[in-house]
């Protein structure tokens, strides 16, 4: 096991027509030994490229990568002592499960007994012992996934890399495998770098999450830290489901209190937060409010409730999503499943004021 350090790593591609595309910009991060770090972001944000640079499958344009204390910029993939699970598993279709698991050990010239023992141990751990003689095409999606993971653990590498390994599975299996991978991490006590575009996967699995966009790190932090204290509008919108509501508002002072004034409502900014916002008074700001911070109110309270017209009701089971309109703005509220609401009804929504987020209109950085 080892820590992984990335120092100002950049990757430039030359695309067709000789234009240079910057896939990763100035990426610096220290991943601790035995840590489970998740790179998350939309397609094309550079997360997979970063992982592939760590794996040795892409050359590094600038910067340094260390595994442990060893600089690995010019070390070929086979000598980096890492293992990787690919999105499509990349199992060797002409080999049996046993041979798939044994391949890396054979390449490293392990003895037959050692190979046999390690493969059987890994197969037992992943409950695929009875599949060892089958070919990959005879396996289900979940089983293939296990074999792909098994192939990495037989070698006991210093770092595990996972490139969207659950995205080819159906929703139910994905939840199950998510739990199993997390358990596996605890059991192996290994350093894992995991890439996904699914924020739920990132939140549930990672010790720390790295949110990326356009090749740049947006924020690094623990899952709940990102959820409650997003550094900018992008992170706020990316983390959390349903996505955070964003409303263009103006910060106004009234009766010595600060309010965010939207088209159809105004909300009071709590006293302790208002102190930091004096320079933004009478300026436009973006209000961010999570659907979970809106609930149905029984009576109007000035500065705390939002009058809303219910357009659509989406019952999920453990909660109900309300698509509502307030003035010009559309909002989503996630309310208690027992809430009595009917479509095309005018209701009042109570906002949890201490959880309001405000963002600068220009650079979209968080103000609170």
């Amino acid at each position: 096991m080892a820590k992984v350090t990335l120092e100002n790593v950049s990757k430039h591609f030359v695309s067709k027509g000789s234009t240079e595309v910057v896939a990763v910009k100035d990426f610096s991060l220290e991943i601790e030994d035995k840590e489970f770090v998740v790179f998350v972001g939309p397609s094309g944000c550079g997360k997979t490229t970063t992982l592939r640079m760590i794996a040795g499958l892409e050359e590094i344009t600038q910067g340094n990568i260390y595994i442990g204390d060893r600089l690995i910029n010019r070390v070929p993939a086979k000598d980096r002592d890492i293992a990787m699970v690919f999105q499509n598993y990349a199992l060797y279709p002409h080999m049996t499960v046993f041979d798939n698991l044994a391949f890396s050990l054979e390449m490293r010239k392990f003895s037959k007994e050692e190979i046999n023992q390690r493969v059987r141990e890994a197969a037992e751990l992943l409950e695929i012992s009875e599949l060892l003689n089958r070919k990959p095409k005879q396996l289900s999606g979940g089983q293939r996934q296990r074999v792909a993971v098994g192939r990495t653990i037989v070698r006991k590498p210093r770092v595990f890399l996972f490139d969207e390994p659950l995205s080819n599975l159906d929703a139910k299996l994905r939840v199950q495998m998510r739990g199993e991978l997390k358990k596996l991490h605890e059991r192996l006590a290994s350093t894992i770098i995991y890439v996904t575009h699914d924020q739920v996967e990132a939140m549930t699995m990672g010790d720390r999450i790295v949110v990326m966009k356009d090749g740049l790190i947006q924020q690094v932090g623990q899952p709940l830290d990102l959820y409650f204290h997003p550094i900018n509008k992008f992170v706020a919108g990316f983390i959390g489901s349903p996505t955070m509501n964003f409303v263009a508002t103006q910060l106004v002072r009234s009766d010595n209190r600060l309010f965010v004034q939207a088209d159809g409502f105004r909300l009071m900014v709590p006293e302790e937060k208002a102190r930091h916002l004096q320079e933004y008074v009478n300026k436009e700001v973006i209000l961010g409010i999570r659907p979970q911070d809106l609930s149905k109110a029984s009576a109007q309270i000035e500065g705390e409730t939002i009058p809303a017209f219910v357009e659509i009701i989406e019952p999920i089971g453990n909660e109900i999503y309300l698509d509502v309109k307030s003035g010009r703005d559309s909002l989503i509220a996630s309310v208690d499943p027992k809430t009595k609401v009917i479509p095309h009804e005018n209701i009042l929504l109570q906002a949890t004021l201490e959880n309001l987020h405000l963002f600068d209109i220009d650079d979209e950085k968080a103000l609170l």
Binding site: A55, G56, L57, P76, A77, K78, R80, I82, A83, M84, F86, Q87, N88, A90, L91, Y92, P93, H94, F103, S104, M107, R108, P136, K137, R151, R155
Partner: protein
């Protein structure tokens, strides 16, 4: 015209079956020698062409050097050059190498049209193999050559079979180079041997000629029927996980 439609001369059915033509072919000509020559040339040139094409196609498709695209195209255009143009400069080369009237002249010249053809076919096949599989093998500790040998070749077997069958058939049936570079009867291949030895002046010995054509097509038919499963899979580029 009347002669053509005369059913006594050109009957619709075989009225008196005979093996006399087979006998003539086997004992009055050196048909077996021609068969051996054809096998020798076809197998050797197929093996050489496959070996070269595998390396070329893999390099063009996977190593992605700066000129890989143009190289692929150039090889394709090489295939489009008609042998009728090529055989004159090739004849000079063969003469300089003192390979005139030798089977080695054919072993050397057949790859000029086999390699471009096989390379083009295999390039398409290599493209269908997921790159991740090779990358995974590299992370697993295999060198590029090992990946090629342990992963790429086994996965491409259907494609290699197809290319091999095509190459074998093309060399087996080749006429022009064999006609141009070989003159002694002992060194001829079947297509040339039959036509030059069984057409004497303006007399066509149709019986032995047809027998020879039939027997010469047997090996190709056998090759096809043995590998038909791989052949179809190879043509459709079917790589199923």
């Amino acid at each position: 015209m009347k002669e053509l439609y005369n059913l006594k001369l050109n009957p619709f059915y075989i009225h008196s079956p005979t093996l006399a033509n087979v006998k003539t072919l086997f004992f009055d000509t050196i048909f077996f020698r021609w068969m051996y020559n054809t096998f020798f040339v076809a197998i050797l040139s197929t093996v050489i062409s496959l070996g070269a094409s595998l390396l070329a196609a893999y390099a063009i498709q996977r190593l992605k050097f700066k000129t890989s695209g143009p190289t692929g195209l150039a090889i394709f255009f090489g295939y489009l050059i008609p042998p009728t143009i090529l055989f004159i400069p090739l004849a000079t080369i063969i003469f300089d190498l003192r390979l005139w009237d030798s089977l080695w002249s054919l072993v050397l010249t057949y790859p000029t049209f086999l390699i471009p053809f096989c390379t083009w076919l295999l390039m398409g096949y290599f493209k269908s193999i997921p790159k991740e599989m090779e990358e995974c093998a590299m992370i697993d500790g295999a060198s590029r050559l090992r990946v090629f040998w342990r992963i790429v070749i086994p996965l491409c077997l259907p494609g290699i079979f197809s290319a091999g069958i095509f190459a074998f058939t093309l060399s087996w049936n080749e006429f022009l180079y064999a006609l141009a570079f070989i003159s002694t009867t002992e060194s001829k291949t079947v297509p040339i041997g039959l036509v030059t030895e069984l057409v004497r002046g303006d007399v066509y010995h149709w019986g032995p000629l047809m027998t020879g054509a039939l027997l010469a097509s047997v090996p190709v038919a056998l090759v096809y029927s043995f590998f038909v499963e791989h052949y179809v899979a190879g043509l459709t580029g079917a790589l199923k996980e």
